[in-house]
């Protein structure tokens, strides 16, 4: 190894990064070369001077404080989030569910109600009000079971001046529904009902195409009443049906 090569390798040597083989060669050269020895000394001196005097800037206290606050806040937040995660998911599900109920079902309910109103108007104009003319629940129920495999709650409301004319089956958005037809004075009230397998109707009033409709649902049945009754009369009819349905349920 000559002086030039030593000059090239001296930094790595002093950094203790020289490969073993080269280190041996370099040290062999150094032992016999005063010029290179003084170069080593010079390099070393410069390094220690540099280390002692190169500016080292400590982090300003305000920076430290700022970062500390942020890290701590983040740490707390993380732990918080960790513990709350199941609840966050539960809450998300709840909100999703509520969105479905409030946003989706009313639309669905509205569509179903609109169809029910059309069926009602159709039945008035074609005169096909009932397929089975009877006011006897014992006759109506088996008839419906046979037709659509569903027994609607049939209420005899004679006491409340509603005359049960009979029943028919109908289709509302591809659902086979039972339609019970009542007369109040000279006006027809039709109660559509079907099992709540696909949806539960929200309770509400609808005024569609000149008819008043009222929707609600129970565990056994979705109900849409369509009529030309005014709001108050319709409410009274719904109350009567509901009372009767409850009576029936508690009776059976």
């Amino acid at each position: 190894m000559n002086c030039e090569e030593v000059d090239h390798l001296l930094d790595a040597y002093l950094d203790r990064e020289l490969q073993a083989g080269q280190k041996v060669l370099l040290e062999q050269h150094l032992s016999g070369c005063p010029a290179c020895q003084s170069l080593v000394w010079e390099f070393q001196e410069f390094r220690s001077f540099f280390k002692a005097n190169a500016p080292v800037y400590p982090a300003p206290p305000q920076l430290r404080a700022k970062i500390l606050t942020k890290l701590r806040r983040k740490g707390v937040k993380r732990r918080d989030t960790f513990f709350r995660q199941p609840w966050v998911y539960a809450a998300a599900m709840l909100i999703l569910g509520m969105c479905l109920l409030t946003a989706l079902l009313p639309d669905q309910g509205k569509a179903l109600t609109t169809q029910a109103v059309r069926r009602y108007i159709e039945s008035l104009s074609t005169g096909r009000l009932v397929d089975i003319a009877s006011d006897d629940p014992q006759a109506l129920k088996p008839w419906f079971v046979e037709k659509i495999n569903f027994a609607p709650p049939v209420a005899d409301l004679l006491a409340s001046r509603y005359t049960l004319l009979g029943g028919r089956t109908d289709l509302i958005q591809n659902r086979s529904v039972a339609a019970l037809v009542y007369r109040y004075d000279s006006r027809i009230v039709t109660l559509f009902c079907w099992p709540p397998t696909h949806e539960q109707l929200a309770t509400g009033n609808h005024s569609i195409e000149g008819c008043n409709a009222y929707t609600w649902s129970s565990a056994e049945c979705n109900y849409i009443v369509v009529s030309k009754l005014d709001q108050r009369e319709l409410d009274a009819f719904v109350d009567a049906i509901r009372d009767r349905a409850e009576y029936e349920n508690s009776g059976s």
Binding site: F50, Y57, L71
Partner: protein
């Protein structure tokens, strides 16, 4: 394997001085270095750090962010500003003439040379660590370090020559 799960503040805070110092060396500005370090800590606190490599990894992020910063803000501080700040602000030992010359010389070095000096001489990084952090081959590390020391000594000699009347 399990014991390395330290909270991020305990892992990263001990290296704040080193992080700031490196950013300060690269950006040559206190304000810029503070911004860089703050950003890096915000970013790093979302990552997983092992206890052993936290410092090297953190400083590597600081280094890269500081580079991006000076690239985005080039012209932000003129060489003259730098010279002044290098001449006036260095801490403790600024009274000594040779030390002042060192600071001036440092401020005149290219940023890559300043950076490798601080990482090697102050941080004491090995060539392997330097190669990985600076994305250089080992031979590149050797030659850049050599160049940095050479240039620094030339600049000091220059500063000494200029400053003779003092």
């Amino acid at each position: 394997m399990q014991e390395r799960k330290l909270p991020v503040e305990e892992l990263l805070l001990p290296h704040l001085d080193g992080a700031y110092n490196l950013a300060r060396w690269i950006t040559e500005s206190d304000a810029d270095a503070q911004i860089v370090v703050e950003e890096v800590y915000a970013q790093a606190s979302k990552q997983e750090f092992g206890q052993e490599d936290a410092r090297v990894r953190l400083l590597t992020i600081v280094r890269n962010r500081a580079y991006t910063w000076i690239r985005q803000h080039s012209g932000h501080s003129s060489p003259k500003d730098r010279e002044e700040s290098a001449g006036q602000s260095p801490p403790p030992l600024s009274g000594n003439k040779r030390t002042r010359d060192l600071h001036i010389a440092l401020s005149k070095l290219a940023v890559e040379l300043r950076e490798i000096l601080v990482l090697s001489e102050i941080e004491g990084w090995s060539y392997t660590q330097l190669a990985s952090a600076l994305d250089l081959p080992m031979t590149g590390v050797t030659s850049r370090l050599r160049q940095a020391r050479l240039r620094l000594r030339q600049e000091i000699a220059e500063a000494q020559r200029k400053g003779l009347p003092e």
